[in-house]
Symmetry: C2
């Protein structure tokens, strides 16, 4: 008997011909990608959506602008370090920042379930107002729909944002070059685990707090200091793993990443071990990776050390080629493995 | 005994101190206005949202732009004359058109319930693609979230849109002048009744079809032909009544409207009589009112007769003063009454 060909082995989740939407289709992994490929891209594909960035770059008049949308369905609505309102503002502001755009204008669409408490709505709205101030954005247009009890889940919020690109860089997977250094802006795994722990009533000796934070300030500083940023990505659904694999795919790059240098809080590490989760797959709401030229990476690191809060940024890897889209991870124990998108939904409703 | 002071009489619905969200808060009438006044405006008020138009006017660089958002929760998803996808594209395109902006870029955020059929999603997405072509818009950014079975209702779609204002007019309630003529672009009441009939299984001898249609073409024509359009409003939630009363309030105008000239299809009239509804309160998705100077109104009418489909546009009234915000309706039988916003939710989930 020949030895099995492992390259043909794949996880069955998400590879069947699903006739219906499953939770995994919203997970930011392989199933989400399939849904995009199968249904959305054939209908909507156009030059502006082709690079599959979360955020589109547009010309409005002569102004380079960015436009993005996100719906927020997180449960619970309030969690350590944030709430659905704060998340809805920072999430969209951060998608704009990942194009190097200054977040400017926000829209908010509320879908509220009949019976939702005014007090809770007021708290969420106040939290959004504070986050708007933090990001220096204006909420300029909104909409509220109410659905019958049992036809929603308390509150869903969609935010769309417009940002302005005030520099000449093109920040996109298309700009990733062989030799680029991958910088991670801080520790990973906190947001997803904080939300999950709250929802499932898990208690840890050190409480885990979401990293939910606005990200334009450090990006702006990098650009202002002349760092030639090639690509940026925040590490939301699908976590660091999805961000790296998607950029490798879009840019057809080979990357080598070293697991041991990736900062993960001890409490997050512990929670992941107990729950059988990989911190690389867990969503963050205040962390990003930046691809920068090797000769500028020390300077970039120094800038980020002063502008991102708390945990130090780290060099986690390098782009080694532009032929095969592949991310190789050198694990803690020194072995190498190929990183892949998470298959389905690990942690539903974390954003 | 003194005679009662009717000016202090108000409908109790929506005037109690509601501790929770009710269906009526999403109806586009008084309760929606209260929700805005009580919770959203105090937190989010800024110069760009102050005129309470569905659509904000912004400067992006030097370009006058428009930005708007809407979530669509219509039930059933497919109805005579349209579906949630078509509605989601035309609805947002029309809000841009009501600022006189050319619809350009669209975002789409999908919140899908676990178990939703791929086939149905594909149909909706195809319908959106066709509507995008009709409006000459590009869908440039999107997002998909999945919620557990029982935590949503099939599908909700948020669309946000960016439009470009290519002329020098300011189209806003602030521009309404005493002497302006109010033109209605066609018949009213079809969309709301079509959706309601489908949902409730009501059958009429002549089937009622939604008026769902894109509205930029006639607006563009008016402007291109030199009509000094002062204000525009599409007649969605709350219908013609809400549109007139809101503009009267924002512009502090007195208006006189003649009911007998307002076109209502016989089948819609019949359905409204049976159901005890006022066609003036029923939502439309392809009708608007335009405020134009009296000396240009014949020309405006002629232009609209050629660009809006089917039913002829009509002059339905006039702005008679700028002191008291009030809309007076001369009824079919010749009496006068003051028009008011609908109190609560007449027809839930019609958009």
């Amino acid at each position: 008997m020949n030895s099995p060909d492992f390259s043909t082995f794949t996880c069955p989740v998400g590879l069947s011909d699903e006739p219906v939407i499953l939770l995994g289709h919203g997970g930011g992994g392989k199933m989400t990608q399939r849904l995009l490929d199968k249904i959305f891209m054939p209908a909507f594909s156009n030059p502006l959506s082709a690079d599959r960035h979360d955020c589109a770059e547009l010309r409005i008049g002569k102004t380079r602008s960015a436009f993005t949308t996100d719906s927020f369905v997180v449960r619970p609505i309030f969690f350590p370090g944030g709430d659905i309102g704060k998340l809805a503002v920072y999430g969209t502001a951060n998608d704009l920042a990942m194009r190097g755009a200054r977040p400017r204008f926000l829209s908010a669409g509320f879908i509220i379930e009949e019976g939702f408490a005014f007090d809770t709505l007021t708290k969420i709205v106040s939290s959004m107002a504070e986050a708007l101030q933090q990001t220096d954005m204006q909420l300029v247009t909104g909409d509220t729909k109410v659905v019958e009890k049992g036809k929603g889940d308390g509150i869903f919020i969609n935010t769309s944002g417009i940002g302005i690109i005030e520099h000449d860089l093109v920040i996109s997977p298309t700009q990733v070059r062989s030799g680029d250094i991958v910088i991670l802006s801080g520790d990973i795994g906190r947001h997803g685990i904080a939300v999950l722990a709250m929802r499932e009533g898990l208690e840890f000796s050190v409480p885990i707090v979401s990293d939910c934070a606005p990200l334009f300030a450090p990006i702006q500083k990098l650009i202002a200091e002349g760092i030639e940023v090639h690509c940026l990505r925040d590490l939301t659904r699908g976590g660091l793993a999805a961000a790296l694999v998607e950029i490798a795919q879009s840019s057809r790059s080979t990357m080598e990443i070293t697991e041991s240098v990736i900062p993960v809080e001890e409490s997050v590490k512990g929670a992941c071990e107990i729950l059988g989760l990989d911190p690389m797959h867990i969503a963050n709401e205040g962390r990003f990776i930046a691809f920068v030229p090797e000769n500028q990476c020390d300077r970039a690191l120094a800038i980020l050390a002063h502008t991102t809060s708390g945990v130090e940024p780290k060099i986690i890897g390098k782009v080694t080629g532009n032929a095969d889209p592949m991310v190789t991870l050198t694990t803690q124990i020194g072995t190498k493995r190929i990183m892949d998108l998470p298959s389905g939904e690990l942690l539903p409703r974390i954003c």
